[in-house]
């Protein structure tokens, strides 16, 4: 695994009114890794993701994505950068007036001059790699189940062969089995397409199974950053809370107490 940083967050401060969400936070995401932003509700992990994908601006600090400082981009540079990443939103955010196939096709029609035949082939290919059946391209988002919506949205995020993939809670709303399948899919795609994956997640199974490194956000700071072993070695109440290293045992005591 190379250690070249793809995204670098330096001294970022974000506040909504009087509430400080990020208080001078730093983190680094390397090439080809699956990186997770972890934290409780309201810890600002989704906000940080939105700042990386140019949907929101921090009050101060710099975020560098693919070697460019995103605060000082010209509109054209921003547009070019947007074509180099794919984003999967929590609820899928497929355009509801278009079929799954048209949702993917739209990107090719807007950004490439490929002939219709090849676009057709690519749409089929993307639908197949995310594990959807071939007829799914003719369905509207409202006709899909939750898991299929996530897969279709992933196919759309992968349309332009991005090197960088952002996922906002990819496994939320999926049953445990589908969630693990989705994890495996992301893991395979990372190897297959040489992606760098940045995700926001609550799912500890995802952290255990596929995430290389992660940052734990809490109290407006990055509490810990690193691989699971590295983070678990740190002694901090939030880490204990999240990974339930000690809390679990007290819970079990409580439950046993009730039972007896």
């Amino acid at each position: 695994m190379s250690s070249q940083p793809i995204i670098q967050v330096q001294d970022v401060v974000t506040a909504f009114g009087d509430t400080i969400v990020h208080d001078h936070i730093n983190c680094t995401i390397h090439e080809h890794e699956i990186y997770a932003l972890l934290g409780g509700s309201g810890s600002g992990k989704s906000t940080l993701l939105r700042e990386m994908i140019l949907l929101q601006r921090p009050q101060s600090g710099t975020i560098t994505v693919l070697g460019q400082n995103i605060a000082t981009l010209s509109p054209e540079e921003a547009q070019n950068l947007r074509q180099k990443w794919g984003v999967l939103f929590q609820s899928g955010a497929l355009f509801s007036s278009l079929t799954v196939g048209q949702n993917i096709e739209l990107l090719y029609r807007e950004y490439t001059d490929l002939p219709a035949n090849l676009i057709n082939e690519l749409v089929k290919l993307k639908i197949d790699i995310v594990g959807l059946p071939a007829h799914a391209r003719y369905l509207y988002p409202s006709q899909l189940s939750g898991g299929m919506v996530k897969r279709a949205a992933l196919a759309r995020a992968l349309a332009l062969d991005p090197k960088l993939l952002f996922l906002d809670e990819p496994t939320s709303g999926l049953d445990p089995f589908s969630a693990r399948q989705f994890d495996t899919l992301i893991y395979q795609l990372r190897d297959l397409l040489g992606l760098t994956v940045v995700m926001v997640t609550h799912d500890l199974d995802t952290i255990h199974h596929i995430v290389d490194r992660f940052a734990l956000l809490g109290e407006a700071k990055v509490v810990a950053e690193g691989s699971l072993e590295e983070v678990l070695a740190i002694n901090h109440p939030l880490i204990e809370y999240f990974f339930q290293t000690t809390v679990q045992t007290s819970h079990q005591k409580e439950i046993h107490g009730i039972q007896s």
């Binding site: 509801s96 007036s97 490439t112 001059d113 490929l114 002939p115 035949n117 090849l118 082939e121 690519l122 089929k124 290919l125 993307k126 197949d128 790699i129 059946p133 071939a134 007829h135 391209r137 003719y138 509207y140 988002p141 409202s142 992968l158 332009l160 062969d161 395979q188 297959l192 397409l193």
Partner: protein, 365 residues
Amino acid sequence: MLTIIDDPAHITLQCHGVWTLPNLAAVAQNLELFKPLKPLRWDISQITELDSAGIALLQLYYRNFENQGVVSELVGTNGTHTKLYSLLYKHPHQDAPPVKIHSWLHNLGREGYENIQGVGKFLAFLGEAFVLLLYTLRYPGKIRYHSIMVHIYTTGITALPIIGISAFLIGVVIAFQSLVQLQKFGADIFIVDTIGISLTRELAPLITAIVVAGRSGSAFTAQIGAMKMTQEIDAMRTMGFDPFIFLVWPRVFALILVMPLLIFFADLIGIFGGMVVAKAQANLSFNEFLYRLKGALAIKHYVIGIVKGPFFAFLIAMASTYRGFQISLNTESIGHYTTVSVVNSIFLVIACDALFSVLLTELKL
């Protein structure tokens, strides 16, 4: 990118350079027009970078040319290519048939059938609403007075400016158009009769109903639809709060109470608009106008106009809340049903007005 070398025995497609999505348009357009007549050799050894779009391009045209009966072979593959290929094309190539497009006759039939069914569904909706109305009348404590007040405010008081302006302009327009004709006979004074009767009996109720349908009817549909999308209506049902009692009847009652008052307001402003034009164009002073109006405008015209109000209100409120409940979980349906609700409301209002005309003429009123 792609060089075509024509040998006597076969054609070599020499692929080289970067084969990624941004760089493939020219190659693809070339191959789209290319009609091979000899066996093909694809040489991909010189490709420096390949992504899924590049693989798809190779696969598509390789397959296409083979389907045209051209013998093809692929040379120069390396480990990365095969790995990428086998991961991307895990499953054998398959084409799903596109969704069948039905004939216009089929669509016409289905539309007709659905419309007839829609009338039935609307009647069922009204039926359920009335059953629950009778139920609430037995327990008057369940009536949502506060909610009715809120809707009176939003559908009535806040609608006054737009209704005032519309009615004023209608009064002005009618006065102008009538005066041109009446002055030909020197019958200027009859402008008072024209304005008084046409506004109070027909135009003020109709204009008010149309503004209310566009303003409050669409709001009702969107509000209920949004609540349906966020499952608030399901939540209400599980807690035993019936949506008819909590959402439908307060809106219907509020509109029924407010509509006659809005029509009365529109009458006043519309007649005032006529008076302004009469003074400006026919030199008819306000006093003369009002004196004449007392004699010309029989009370029945005014009463008929006001009585239409609750009927229009009922139709608008029922049609728009009914459409609100039809909104499903996708975002597009909010826009669709809001449009349908306004179209339905205005149509029902006009149909009801026509019915009134026929009925009242038969009754010699």
